[in-house]
Symmetry: C2
Subunit: 490 residues, 2 copies
């Protein structure tokens, strides 16, 4: 065996063990008995210890030094393995295991705190997680920016400075648009009524099918915080059901379908290799967002959905499909990021981005976090947070150590804006098909131009290749202004 | 750290990884998407490679040589680790990985073959599994009996010779009893009707609760072949639903509850140690069987169940609780082991025992297996197997390499007979409580005298300690004769 094939055989099993870790995470958030939390933390800790030992196995450095890549794909694999090795070799095994154990436990504590609206119950755990993540960042940062060191794990090549600059460019146009639509005379109606769980889930399944989700290689379950999980042949999605708000269930589902279709769309030859999964969180989010928003919240698709929901639930109390489209896209003051409309969503991200940068920099203490959140929220959104489950406790991310993850959501929106512009220019008939509940002209283009490549190209390069231009925030903002000015008659 | 504590820390993670492997098995048989079979085989293979490397890690021999056990519990832990090390060190890593990958795949192939009643679809895979298991047995047997080498993994201390001798003693009394009840004038009525799935599952849950199953540390799902899985804080059960036969669902559930209550009942201090799980398959089966049969199919408990089922399903077409008890315990010619009555069950085991001994000894080819099964079945049971799903394809065991496992079922029945005799002598009021749907006087005794000890004592010794006498088949046969002669008026 050559050094290259030895390394790839070793990597194969590491990738398989990674998939197992993802599957355990899915289990924990969907079906695991409540009393198993502590035991699962031990299990995850043991697996993470194995994974850390593999990711930092000294043989990797030796294989990398001797390996010759036979082609471009192989060269990229070596790059990615080297990148992972260099990151993980800097993190002590003890720290990796502590982080894995703690963040497995902390998720349950966060869920309890959120359910009880009790920030104090969560803060000691958050302080521990933060301390470990700061330690990790220090191990990675080479005296550079601590936050960048964490961000780089989710979005290779991104930096807090460039993200912050982009946010600064986006904010004025988003705020102006938000203020305009909130002040508009024409205001969409809210959906009124109670929508039974089983029917919501049935429509969610129909929508997942419409967007090309392969049920033979996935399944849909419920979770407190919807997520997708797993690889090529086993990529599962979750959603949540709020009986008074069927759009929560439906659009959470379509969002996660976007993530899972990316995984399901990757060239199966890449399975169990470093290019066998989505290349970055930002590119991943571009897929979930374009499915959810540019396609799923478009007038043609909501026209089709209006018919399906009327059949399932009876009269929705809305005059026509145009009114339904406005209701789906209704912009209102609200507290929850995941329930936010497209206009305000990125403002939620900017709030988190600034707070978590301050936490990681040591400029904000966890004991002051709730007050900082509430003050900032009032300033950014003009409304006071009524309780922590609608504020600082709403997201699982910090509980499980995902500092530096939030900005990739906005990056995903930006990438989705770019991809939508390029796709619309390239593919005729997308709207006609969406109006029939068939997203395949769009999803085929995305699969062909992006999804099938998996991790083959660097994130920004991948978007540029798919779009034919360098990604910027302009297409997203243009799209948002055109769409919402239309809906609100501005 | 001492050698002992280093070894225990190492073992902790091995036990945790073992629990992960069990959880993946559960996932595969309950919720996994169909298209994930090949991927899961790769995942299991990678995990099994890690586990094999740990079980055979040369440091274990060193630690064992230097470790001093501070007490009796620790001494037993060292014994068990040494036993596992000695077994696994003989199995080449390649063979362990091949077996894990193949038996993960073969389960799906078996399920397809069973669904299609197509033996030929399964035979090539079975031949591969058998070849690998024979190779494993040869690696373990030291020129001794190949079958014993496999049996010893499930029931340490047992041998084919002693099992065979016990079967020879049991067979005449079982056959005589079977012939007597089948020829009796008084014959219980069959249950007639269609019993909706959801209601069956609701009653199954009520029964699981009645037997003390801790839902906070477990859950119930459906599977083709019911099983229990997992450890102290996460021990899950499965059942199956046949709409015309609610006893299938109910008694599969109570059976698996027996297994899981054993795990849930183990001293939590033993978690992640070699004594933190049931000591053998035979002792495990004694718990599932005593819950299912001596308690669950007793007149007092079926009297309570009769009320619950009448409330749930309406009139069952039976005159009274005594008739219901007879129906629950009805003995009829039948093909399926897991649906068999207590009288004939062990005859099913004897058939499998002889066939699998012949397969492992190389005296029977897989191509001749179906004919051998059918010939033997006709001879033992007097009826011709109509199709392979009711014959040679009915059990998953051989597909997943569990040769030597079947006799532990009968050993479990024998142990259950012993435990029942001792428990009845020691605890007053068991029947009075069972009649109220409360098994706790019995399950408390089992927990106190057996379950809490986990793997602390060797199997036969454990039963002897709990019962106060050396286990024999006599109590089981006495119990069966008394019970069935009563029901059949003989």
């Amino acid at each position: 065996m050559t050094a290259y094939s030895e390394l790839m055989a070793f990597q194969h099993d590491t990738e398989a063990l990674n998939l197992i870790a993802e599957r355990l995470g899915w289990d924990q958030e969907t079906v695991m008995p409540r009393g198993a939390t502590a035991q699962r933390a031990e299990e995850i800790g043991a697996l993470e210890t194995v994974l850390h030992a593999r990711r930092t196995d000294p043989r990797i450095a030796d294989w990398l030094a001797r390996a010759e890549a036979p082609d471009e794909v192989s060269a990229r694999m070596l790059d990615l393995i080297g990148r992972s090795y260099n990151r993980h070799a800097r993190i002590p095994a003890r720290l990796a295991a502590e982080l894995a154990r703690l963040t497995s436990l902390s998720q349950g504590i966060w869920a309890e705190a959120r359910a009880a609206d009790n920030v104090a119950h969560f803060l000691p755990t958050l302080a521990e997680v933060l301390a470990l993540k700061r330690e990790e960042a220090q191990a990675l940062a080479d005296d550079g920016d601590l936050y960048d060191a964490l961000l780089d794990d989710y979005e290779p090549g991104a930096s807090a400075r460039s993200m912050g600059a982009m946010f600064d460019r986006m904010r004025p146009r988003l705020v102006a648009l938000r203020d305009a639509v909130l002040g508009a005379e024409r205001q969409p109606a809210a959906l009124d009524g109670v929508f039974p769980e089983n029917t919501q889930l049935r429509i969610a399944r129909i929508c997942a099918t419409a967007f090309g989700y392969d049920w033979n290689r996935g399944r849909l379950d419920q979770a407190v915080h919807p997520f997708s999980s797993g690889g090529v042949s086993d990529s599962r999605i979750t959603t949540r059901v709020v009986e008074t708000d069927p759009f929560n269930c439906i659009y959470s589902t379509i969002h996660e379908v976007g993530h899972s279709c990316y995984e399901q769309g990757i060239d199966p030859d890449y399975a169990f290799t470093p290019v066998g999964h989505g290349v970055s969180m930002g590119v991943h989010e571009s897929q979930s967002r374009i499915y959810e928003n540019q396609l799923g919240r478009s007038a043609p698709f909501t026209g089709w959905l209006y018919q399906r929901m009327t059949e399932a639930f009876g009269d929705l109390g809305l005059p026509d499909a145009a009114a339904f489209h406005a209701t789906v896209n209704r912009v209102t003051p609200g507290f929850i990021r995941t329930e936010s409309d497209e206009v305000q969503y990125n403002l939620h991200i900017m709030l988190r981005f600034d707070l978590e940068r301050a936490l990681i920099a040591g400029k904000l203490e966890v004991n002051d976090l709730e007050e900082a959140w509430n003050t900032r929220f009032l300033s950014d959104f003009g409304v006071a947070v009524p309780r922590p489950s609608q504020g600082v406790l709403q997201d699982v991310h910090w509980a499980v150590g995902l500092f530096g993850y939030f900005p990739t959501y906005t990056l995903g929106n930006v990438y989705a804006g770019c991809l939508n512009q390029a796709m619309r220019a390239a593919v005729p008939g997308i709207d006609e098909s969406l109006a029939k509940g068939d997203a395949s002209p769009a999803t085929d283009w995305l699969r062909e131009n992006l999804q099938r490549h998996g991790g083959l190209y660097k994130p920004a390069k991948m978007i540029e290749m798919a779009c034919g231009f360098q990604p910027t925030e302009a297409p997203l903002l243009d799209y948002l202004e055109a769409k919402f000015k239309g809906i609100y008659g501005l």
